[in-house]
């Protein structure tokens, strides 16, 4: 029966919520097999150089230890870089754990102890002795940027800086108002709640079921099969529940390699899990130095934009992000020059972290735009509205929708922006300086190839199957809603089976594309179900649906009926029964429309408004209010959607004010590698946050009208905070995170 719970727009609580809140949703490192083995990795403590000797004799002799692996005895693996390149690999030579004696970064895994218990493996690992020959570490982006280079191979065509347009230098020189400033953002480290872990369960037939913490079960599957030359059907990768990932789980991690390697070699089930400290040796948001040169005319029209970024990467791979292209499309500007370079460091390869590139690029762009608005003497929101652009100037493409103007209006109204005074330091609340700042965010709305199977049973129960992952975003819930809506059921009738490499093909869960892609695939699968039902119904004698087209159909009360006259129809049980079937399945497939892409492009947009209160003497900062107005197409589930944006905003707060991997550049080692000293916002730092969705009707962004929400929430938050701090104190902070000491030193004289 149709009711409001079916409909797009209903805030259905997560259907996997009870499992998670009762601790019964199993995570990768929680699966168990009697007699299984446990691995503990051992890591290099120099940043660069080689292993002169590694003595594992004491570890091997430790009670319970089964085997210790190093580069000297690692089992054979595929020899080509291609075999080691996963779906999200970047140009370069992917890390092959225990390949040889070379050390490329502090924290590189150089040994694995396998034992009968976790404790024995950990204790024995402490007995390994290594002698190194150390080279100089190179970890300071502000030093290494002197040797920056244009990456010889692009990670993606779309990440290449767009060609210059107009005359950015000339227009800059000629303009009356200009800003030339450098922005530095320190490296940030992924710390989702769930640590990386893999449990390999070896079946009696030798087949492996691999429970892996990943954002793509099929990516892990193909990676493992490629490296170990395994037949695809002998390995199944499961990631049924993922305790947060944010991009950290896009590329396979060494614990997956280790667990499978040991399982194959020892013919036993094996678990390898990381500790919190090890999370700091993985995928991280690279430290970046950005130079912005922007100029405007006396009316506040943007005349020139130049954006140059240098990002840290590793010795062995050229990780790249789209940092600078946003500066060519966020505002109307005819004179643009963008450039992007990398700098080698002795750190692990950086990786995608929520809104990779955009979170970083908008930190600089939206700070510089604010600075320029002040140079011109305009309200910073008015300046942004003045330079509103209705198409993608980088590639001269039309936008499928852009309700950013409504975000500006709605957000400003809710925030009370009209009460703002322009002069920095002019607003007060007791001891506190009050600052109001704004910023804009943009993220790409893309569709990735996806498939889904939908099976409908006579009693109206539905099963949805896809390899898609739910990394805590609400994928289970919205796929149930989409299937229910399309097949005239309630969401509680839908079983969603995802997170399994044997399910229909789905790309990794990233880029904010899962809702649009897997959601559209489920909708396509539902359509296939209806088509099959119709053809079966039309085979029946005296079928009331004889002349009907599939577009005319609806399902109500478990009957396939004419939408406009639901007296005309047949019970689904009868349709299936008369054809000798117990259920009907539809296989939905979705892919980006390449023809459409020649003319149209889709983005999500945001307008962020931030209030800070800063103690005028001590500099203690409090972010007391944030309004985030989001335009991201259709919102299927306002509850999970709001959670996504809240999470993004909080992560943006951390980027603005707290998150920073503190590296001892003498040794190249990250020193605050724990959550006591690597700070993220605590509850007290997260105060009033309001999320507004400005809905867009957009049938081009994706077949279901969805654009995706995983990333847009963080974009621009850092700059909005910095701009608010400027408004409060009159000091521009261009080095992120903006910590209390920096704010204190930038306070106006009393």
């Amino acid at each position: 029966m149709l009711n409001e719970k079916n409909i797009f727009g209903f805030p259905l609580p997560r259907i996997d919520g009870p499992l998670k809140t009762t601790g019964t949703a199993p995570y990768a490192a929680e699966y168990h097999d009697p007699g299984m083995l446990f691995g503990h990795a051992f890591y290099a403590t120099i940043a660069s150089g080689r292993i002169v000797s590694i003595d594992t004799a004491k570890a091997e002799a430790y009670p319970g230890v089964v085997k210790v692996y190093t580069h000297k005895n690692r089992p054979d693996t595929a020899s080509s870089d291609d075999a080691w390149k996963d779906e999200v690999a970047v140009p370069g030579h992917p890390l092959r754990p225990l390949e040889n004696d070379r050390i490329l970064y502090d924290g590189q895994p150089i040994a694995l102890v396998i034992a009968e218990s976790f404790e024995a493996a950990r204790d024995a690992a402490d007995l390994i002795q290594v002698a190194y020959e150390a080279d100089e570490p190179h970890t300071n982006i502000e030093v290494e940027k002197a040797k920056s280079y244009v990456p010889p191979e692009a990670r993606k065509e779309a990440f290449l800086p767009t060609d210059p347009r107009g005359d950015a230098e000339g227009a800059y020189e000629a303009a009356p108002f200009k800003i030339d400033a450098e922005y530095v953002q320190e490296g940030e480290h992924h710390n989702p709640m769930e640590l990386f872990g893999t449990t390999v369960i070896r079946g009696e037939d030798g087949y492996l079921t691999v429970h892996d913490k990943t954002q793509g079960s099929q990516n892990s599957h193909d990676y493992v099969c490629g490296i170990f030359k395994l037949k695809p059907e002998t390995v199944r990768v499961v990631n049924a529940y993922v305790g947060g990932a944010f991009g950290s789980g896009l590329r396979p991690k060494h614990q997956l390699f280790f667990a499978v390697m040991a399982s194959l070699d020892l013919k036993r089930s094996v678990r390898v899990e990381m500790s919190r400290r090890e999370m700091f040796y993985l995928t991280w948001r690279p430290a970046t130095v950005q130079r912005m040169q922007v100029a405007a005319d006396a009316e506040g029209r943007l005349m020139s934009v130049r954006h140059h970024a240098v990002q840290a990467t590793s010795l062995y791979e050229d990780y790249q992000e789209n940092v600078v292209n946003w500066s060519g499309l966020a505002y109307k500007c005819d004179n643009v020059k963008l450039s992007y370079e990398l700098a080698k460091t002795t750190l692990s390869t950086p990786g995608d972290m929520r809104a990779p590139g955009a979170a970083t690029g908008f930190l600089a762009l939206e700070s510089a735009i604010d600075e320029l608005a002040y140079k011109v003497g305009m309200d910073p929101l008015e300046f942004r509205v003045k330079n509103f652009v209705t198409y993608d100037q980088n590639d001269d493409l039309k936008l499928t929708s852009k309700a950013l103007d409504a975000c500006y209006r709605e957000g400003a109204k809710r925030f009370g922006w009209s009460k703002r005074s322009q002069e920095p330091g002019s607003m007060r609340d007791g001891h506190d300086l009050v600052g109001w700042g704004t910023a804009t965010g943009v993220w790409e709305a893309t569709l990735s190839p996806a498939e889904a199977k939908v099976r409908l049973f006579p009693d109206g129960k539905i099963t949805v199957m896809a390899a898609a992952s739910d990394i805590g975003t609400g994928t289970y819930t919205i796929l149930a809603q989409i299937a229910a809506q399309n097949l005239g059921q309630t969401a509680d009738r839908v079983s969603v089976l995802i997170g399994d490499s044997t399910m229909p093909k789905t790309a990794v869960e990233g880029g904010s594309w899962t809702a649009a892609s897997s959601g559209s695939a489920v909708q396509a699968g539902c359509l296939e179900v209806k088509k099959t039902l119709l053809s079966l119904a039309q085979k029946m004698e005296n079928s009331p649906l004889a002349g009907a087209e599939v577009e005319d159909l609806a399902i109500r009360d478990n009957r396939l009926v004419l939408d406009k006259n639901d007296q005309m129809g047949l019970a689904i049980a009868d349709i299936l029964g008369s054809n000798g079937m117990s259920s009907v399945e539809g296989h939905g497939k979705i892919a980006p429309d390449e023809e459409q892409a020649k003319e149209w492009v889709s983005y999500t947009h945001s307008a962020i408004f931030v209030e800070v209160k800063i103690d005028a003497e001590l500099g203690v900062p409090r972010v007391t209010k944030i309004v985030s107005a989001i335009a991201a197409g259709k919102i299927i589930n306002p509850k999970t959607a709001r959670s996504q944006i809240l999470g993004g905003v909080v992560m943006g707060l951390g980027m603005a004010m707290q998150e920073e991997g503190m590296i001892d550049h003498r040794t190249g080692r990250i020193m605050n590698h724990n959550l006591a000293e690597y700070h993220i916002p605590a509850h007290a730092d997260v105060q009033d946050i309001e999320v507004i969705f400005v809905e867009e009707e957009d049938d081009k962004a994706s077949p279901i009208g969805v654009k995706g929400l995983g990333e847009i929430g963080i974009v621009g938050v850092g700059a909005a905070v910095a701009n608010a701090i400027f408004h409060a104190t009159g000091t521009r902070h261009r080095h992120f995170p903006i910590t209390i000491d920096k704010i204190m030193e930038g306070l106006p004289a009393r």
């Binding site: 403590t45 120099i46 003595d55 004491k58 430790y62 404790e119 950990r122 204790d123 402490d126 007995l127 390994i128 002795q129 290594v130 002698a131 190194y132 020959e133 150390a134 400290r277 007791g430 001891h431 506190d432 209160k613 103690d615 003497e617 001590l618 203690v620 409090r622 004010m657 707290q658 503190m662 590296i663 001892d664 003498r666 040794t667 080692r669 020193m671 605050n672 590698h673 724990n674 006591a676 000293e677 700070h679 916002p681 605590a682 509850h683 007290a684 730092d685 910590t739 209390i740 000491d741 204190m744 030193e745």
Partner: protein, 346 residues
């Protein structure tokens, strides 16, 4: 070149002490033994491979969980009374609100429920290098050097540091206890003795591995507080890298006895600046009879920070401490102490 390997394995013996004498004997018998109370710091350090106690002496069964009245209007707080129980005890809240406030400025409710009074005194520094066995640290491994000098030292000392160690004591509670001139009662093989709070922790000097002045085999049994005149004019002000759940960059425990706008008695203890809660009783005494004004407090700050020196990353702590001292004393003088549940500074 660092050789991280070959460390001790994590095996230890476990003894549950049924009497104080039993606990003291067990501790005195084994220099590698450590006392387990709330475990909020020791267990972490064992997991981080920093502490390797050969023996654990669990004192949780000992009868040290009472807060007793003393004849002079003071209180005696048993070593096993939880931080929460101290902070929310009505007598503490009434007579020593500075102490209650300092406790509530630290950690999280869960940690305060588990952490004990004695354990709070004995918690170890949060220096990044102390916590990382792959790096040198004279406190963790005497003679290995100090990684923090010339390294990452945002959270380190500006007062009383040595060429061997620039770590700071991380406690909030202890800063208030130092300001209140508490007494630490310890029991050891040679019997019971009292240690004035300001003598309990020590500066690093040549022996940074020693955090305090207790002798081998001694156990903290109680904290004793005398009657005082600071219940109305006090404040605990903590500045940190986020609004909650972070160790102090700078904290100030300020207590004043003010009469007719003049200072009768003043106490100022600083946290986050040294290897021990920092107090200068000679300097405090110089201000008796002076007006309780911002100008006086700025002079107090000048005096207390006369020898302060940054280590690079933490240079900001010197001006930050100055501002914090003036503010905390101003709050105390006005009778408007910092309320820890309120995140704005009063």
């Amino acid at each position: 070149m660092r050789h991280p390997g070959g460390r001790r394995v994590r095996h230890f013996s476990y003894t549950r002490a049924e009497t104080l004498g039993h606990a003291v004997a067990a501790l005195a018998a084994n220099p590698q033994a450590r006392v387990l109370a709330g475990g909020t710091n020791l267990i972490d350090l064992m997991k981080y491979d920093v502490e390797h106690p050969g023996a654990i002496v669990d004192i949780n069964r000992l009868p040290l969980r009472d807060i007793e009245e003393l004849p002079n209007g003071g209180l005696r707080i048993g070593a096993l009374v939880s931080n929460s129980a101290v902070a929310y005890d009505p007598r503490v809240a009434e007579r020593y609100p500075l102490l209650a406030s300092a406790i509530l400025a630290g950690a999280s409710p869960q940690l305060r429920n588990a952490a004990t009074t004695g354990g709070n005194l004995l918690q170890r520094t949060r220096c990044y290098y102390f916590y990382d066995p792959a790096t040198p640290c004279n406190k963790r491994e005497p003679g290995s050097g100090c990684g923090a000098i010339g390294g990452v030292n945002r959270i380190h000392a500006i007062l009383g540091a040595s060429e061997h160690c620039i770590a700071v004591h991380p406690s909030d509670m202890c800063v208030a206890l130092a300001a209140l001139s508490a007494t630490v009662e310890v029991e050891g093989p040679d019997g019971r003795r009292d240690i004035p709070f300001t003598d309990f922790h020590r500066l690093p000097g040549d022996h940074p591995e020693r955090d305090n002045t207790m002798h081998q085999g001694e156990i903290v049994t109680a904290i004793r507080l005398e009657g005082n005149h600071f219940a109305h004019h006090h404040s605990y002000l903590k500045l940190r890298d986020r609004l909650s759940y972070a160790f102090a960059l700078i904290s100030v425990a300020a207590a004043l006895d003010v009469k007719d706008g003049q200072i009768v008695d003043m106490r100022v203890a600083l946290g986050g600046v040294a290897h021990k809660p920092w107090r200068d009783t000679l300097a405090e005494a110089e201000f008796a009879g002076q007006p309780a004004t911002r100008e006086t407090f700025a002079t107090v700050a000048d005096r207390l920070l006369a020898g302060a020196q940054g280590q690079g990353d933490n240079d900001f702590k010197v001006p930050m401490a100055h501002k914090a001292i003036v503010r905390a004393l101003s709050q105390a003088a006005a009778g408007t102490p910092q309320i820890q549940a309120e995140k704005h500074v009063r």
